[in-house]
């Protein structure tokens, strides 16, 4: 009867859709892993590593408010950063296992020196 027929076609449609979505997701997974690898190779390339920097004036311009203090943190991989809930105060802790952490302020003057 009609209800059954409707149900059958709905069932079929859904099955096809889920099937399409499964395929789309697999494609995405593949692209994501390729992209992750590409990015790693890109950033680990010694030549790129040397050229992968911003200038102090770039930083100043990016946080272009005269009343802002800009702090730069350079930490070894796997350093842990913990931030408290705002309701419990404003606290940041950094914990490294692989080497010292570097923290400095971005200068405000135009000397361009950090």
């Amino acid at each position: 009867n009609r209800i059954d027929a409707n149900l059958v076609s709905r069932h079929k449609d859904l099955q096809r859709e889920v099937c399409d979505l499964t395929e789309a997701e697999e494609q995405l997974d593949e692209l994501i892993s390729k992209c992750t690898l590409q990015l790693r190779l890109l950033t680990e390339d010694p030549q790129n590593k040397k050229l992968g920097y911003v200038r102090c004036q770039d930083l100043r311009k990016s946080f272009d408010s005269p009343d802002q203090l800009v702090m730069v943190i350079r930490a070894p991989p796997e350093t842990q950063m913990q931030v408290t809930e705002p309701s419990e105060g404003y606290q940041v802790s950094l914990k490294s296992t692989q080497g010292p952490i570097d923290v400095f302020l971005c200068p405000e003057d135009s000397s361009g020196v950090c």
Binding site: D4, L7, V8, R10, H11, L14, R16, V18, D20, L21, T22, A24, E25, Q27, L28, L31, I32, K34, C35, T36, Q38, L42, T43, N48, K49, L51, G52, Y53, V54, R55, C56, L59, K61, S62, F63, D67, Q68, L69, M71, V72, I73, R74, A75, V83, P86, G89, Y90, V92, S93, L94, K95, S96, T97, G99, P100, I101, V103, G112, V113, C114
Partner: protein
């Protein structure tokens, strides 16, 4: 067709499955977009620096540059910051008496325009050309999609047609 008696239930299950997959695809799409943005931004940065160094005929003084990766913490100048550091500089503790923001280096690169405006879907024809030239062919459809504006719906790029 040998439809099971509980086919209504099965339709419902499929519906749930469909929703779940749509959600996951959405998440993965934004993850992929972020990766693409990072790739473009990094390549642009390297290119810019290479050009500047070639023009100046020397690298910039090391005390005027900051290598990736880094993190930025910014706050008002009025904020009082209390900082304790362990002797070996492996541990830091900051106390701020007011709000602060944390940004990663990619955010800085975006603000510098290194992502060609793709991060907000504001991309001139020229920007788009540059962006497309910086990614492998397989990712171009995503770049074009991102250039059109923030994505709200799940979209499926070529190749995954029905059946």
């Amino acid at each position: 067709i040998g439809l099971p008696t509980n086919s209504a239930q099965e339709c419902q299950n499929l519906e749930v499955e469909r929703q779940r997959r749509l959600e996951r695809i959405k998440q993965k799409q934004s993850q992929l977009q972020e990766l693409i943005l990072q790739q473009i931004a990094f390549k642009n940065l390297v290119q810019r620096n290479r050009q500047t160094e070639q023009q100046a005929n020397r690298p910039p003084p090391s005390n005027s540059i900051i290598h990736l990766p880094f993190i930025i913490v910014n706050t008002s100048k009025k904020t009082v910051i209390d900082c304790s550091i362990s002797n070996d500089k492996f541990e830091y503790l900051f106390n701020f008496d007011s709000m602060f923001e944390i940004h990663d280096d990619i955010e800085v690169l975006k603000r510098m325009g290194m992502a060609c405006g793709l991060e907000v879907g504001k991309c001139s024809a020229e920007d788009l050309k540059v962006a497309r030239s910086l990614v492998p062919k397989a990712l171009e459809p995503y770049v074009i999609e991102m250039a059109k504006g923030p994505i709200s719906n799940v979209y499926i790029t070529g190749g995954s047609s029905a059946n």
